[in-house]
């Protein structure tokens, strides 16, 4: 078999053509190994970056002791976590307790199978697509698998036999179900423009029409917010909520199992960033140029496009951290109200608007190109003004009294003015 494989590898094929089975198989294995390595190292260094960014934002230094600028900190942390004592709660459900960290981590990893991360790379054995599995239904696979991540958290919360963990797990499930809807709905607009559910095709569409963030700004915004909620990052870190639930679903975990949840969080961050980049920011497309997308592919092009994809992902990971150290956590009712009353209606209405606009533009005979996206962009600007200026008047995330009925508030104010106990009445 190996002899056959090497024979196949020795065949000289057209570098731009499709490879035969064995080169394809070996290339896939190599891609997986290389990709997994890059991914895990990135995740490890994101933990370091998070702490440095946290430090800088708070006018501190962050970890800078282990190695140059603290760059060996992830290694030291890994070593520490492996050496630490592993504890099992007495009444925990052992099997599920052991399974949960893996279930939190694996979905984040296997989603990457369908995300294209560079221009195709020509080799002497044929053209290798820089995607692990080019599924024709990549987008659906992505949505399906990313929803599985919540199982890890819920099972962890339940199997720990700890009330705080259970609350964390329950919150996670409620939150994920709420935000998954807006996540899926906002991404439907991308499918409307691309006309295909494969991720390479979505990137192709963005190459020809300009990035979706311009033509579908509102959807990009909703998707990003929902992605924050899906990864349980602040301001949506309800399942963890240190100040309320000790550490939420991973209260009872120690040593490497805790570390697995930690890794899973960052792995999810990278994956969510990759979603945002692929669906709305052109994937591996280099902006303002077309040479990187056209046919005679070269190794340099592949590396450059991969580099761009990587930079975009790192930017969004940084954005995650930046937001984390800026915003305080939502109250639970605010979270639910935002998800169901604002994000879902917005996403649904936006589908209708984009669908109508697309139909109208097609009927007007405007071809899908730059002009088409510019008209959509203008539409988005109008919608954003309506959303952010008119709608966001204490109605989005706000003190609870703004959700009280107007006449109730007036009645309370009137009563307060009559009361002798209240000396200061604003307004």
């Amino acid at each position: 078999m190996i002899a056959f494989a090497s024979l196949a590898l020795l065949q000289i094929a057209d570098p731009q053509g499709t490879p035969t089975f064995w080169p394809w198989f070996i290339a896939t294995v190599i891609k997986m190994v290389v990709f997994f390595t890059i991914y895990m190292v990135t995740v490890a260094y994101l933990t370091w970056l998070e702490r440095r960014v946290a430090g800088w934002i708070q006018d501190r230094q962050g970890p800078n002791r282990v190695g140059w600028q603290g760059l060996l900190q992830p290694l030291a942390d890994g070593l520490k976590n492996i050496m630490k004592e592993e504890t099992f709660p007495n009444y925990a459900s052992k099997a599920l307790f052991m399974l949960a960290p893996a279930m939190a981590f694996i979905p984040a990893l296997i989603v990457w199978a369908v995300i294209p991360f560079g221009a195709p790379m020509p080799t002497p054995w044929g053209r290798v697509d820089l995607i692990l599995a080019d599924l024709p239904i990549g987008f659906l696979y992505m949505l399906a698998i990313s929803s599985l991540g919540v199982y890890g958290i819920v099972i962890a919360g339940w199997s720990s036999n700890n009330k705080y963990s259970l609350l964390g797990g329950l919150r996670a499930s409620a939150q994920m179900i709420s935000y998954e809807l807006s996540l899926g709905m906002s991404a439907v607009c991308v499918l409307l423009l691309a006309g295909h559910v494969g991720l390479p095709q979505i990137i192709e569409q963005q190459v020809s029409m300009g990035w979706n963030v311009l033509s579908l700004t509102v959807a990009a915004l909703v998707f990003t917010i929902a992605a924050f909620a899906e990864t349980n990052r602040l301001p949506f870190d309800m399942p963890e909520a240190e100040s309320e639930l000790v550490a939420g679903y991973h209260t009872e975990y120690s040593s490497m199992k805790f570390s697995m949840f930690f890794i899973a969080e960052y792995a999810n961050m990278v994956t969510a960033s990759a979603f945002i980049v692929t669906l709305f920011f052109g994937g591996w497309d280099i902006p303002f140029t077309t040479w990187d997308n056209s046919a005679p592919y070269s190794v340099l092009k592949s590396l450059l496009t991969f580099g761009f994809f990587y930079v975009k992902i790192i930017f969004f990971c940084f954005f995650y951290m930046w937001v984390r150290w800026t915003l305080p956590r939502f109250r639970y009712d605010q979270l639910m109200a935002l998800g169901w009353k604002i994000m879902l209606p917005t996403a649904l209405a936006y589908i209708m608007i984009v669908a109508s606009a697309t139909l109208a533009l097609d009927a007007a005979g405007i071809s899908r190109g730059v002009l088409f996206s510019l008209i959509l962009f203008a539409l988005n600007v109008v919608l954003l003004v309506i959303l952010l200026v008119w709608l966001d008047r204490g109605r989005m995330v706000s003190p609870s009294y703004t959700r009280a009925r107007r006449d109730e508030v007036l009645r309370l104010r009137e009563r307060a003015q009559r009361s002798v106990l209240v000396t200061e009445v604003a307004d």
């Binding site: 930046w322 009563r415 307004d427």
Partner: protein
């Protein structure tokens, strides 16, 4: 409702979440790129300590290399933490000297009374605070160790110049 409830009437423009978020992101980014960080990089840089800083003890010596201590017994008497152990001895000329002089740095509360009371200006508290040992016994400093210390000694408080200026 017996007690009047204070209902804030902020203008709705001011409670826009999105605008507050953008403002906040700007604020945090300004701190992110601000090169002035408050963390002191401790082992490399240290905060300057006061000339009256009372740290680990030091026994001063005469030119001949002997301890200045005359074993008068004032410091173990004044010590509120009872951490000084002194066994006096006397040589042929009738000069008193300490046979045993030990200070338990764990018991010591670093009040500096020993330095103030010492008639010979022998025992001092020093401007030094980085002490670490592998065992508790290591913190009982004997006479030899006290004499071997080289750090600067603490200045006494001067009533004429209460702020040390």
């Amino acid at each position: 409702m017996a007690i009047g409830v204070k209902v804030l009437g902020r203008p709705v423009e001011e409670i826009s979440y999105v605008r507050a978020t953008v403002k906040g992101l700007g604020r945090t980014f300004k701190h992110l790129v601000n090169p002035h960080k408050v963390t002191m990089q401790y082992p490399e840089e240290k905060y300057p300590i006061s000339p009256r800083w009372r740290g680990t003890h030091r026994m001063l010596t005469t030119e001949t290399g002997k301890a200045k201590c005359v074993a008068c017994g004032l410091c173990p008497t004044v010590c509120p933490a009872n951490c000084i152990k002194l066994v006096p001895g006397e040589d042929e000329d009738g000069n008193r000297y300490p046979l045993v002089f030990e200070i338990d740095e764990f018991r010591c509360i670093f009040c500096g009374y020993c330095q103030e009371v010492c008639p010979e200006e022998a025992i001092h508290v020093g401007r030094h605070y980085e002490n670490s040992e592998f065992s508790r016994e290591g913190f009982v400093y004997d006479l030899e160790r006290l004499m071997a210390q080289t750090h600067p000694v603490s200045e006494l408080w001067d009533p004429a110049d209460p702020k040390g200026e």
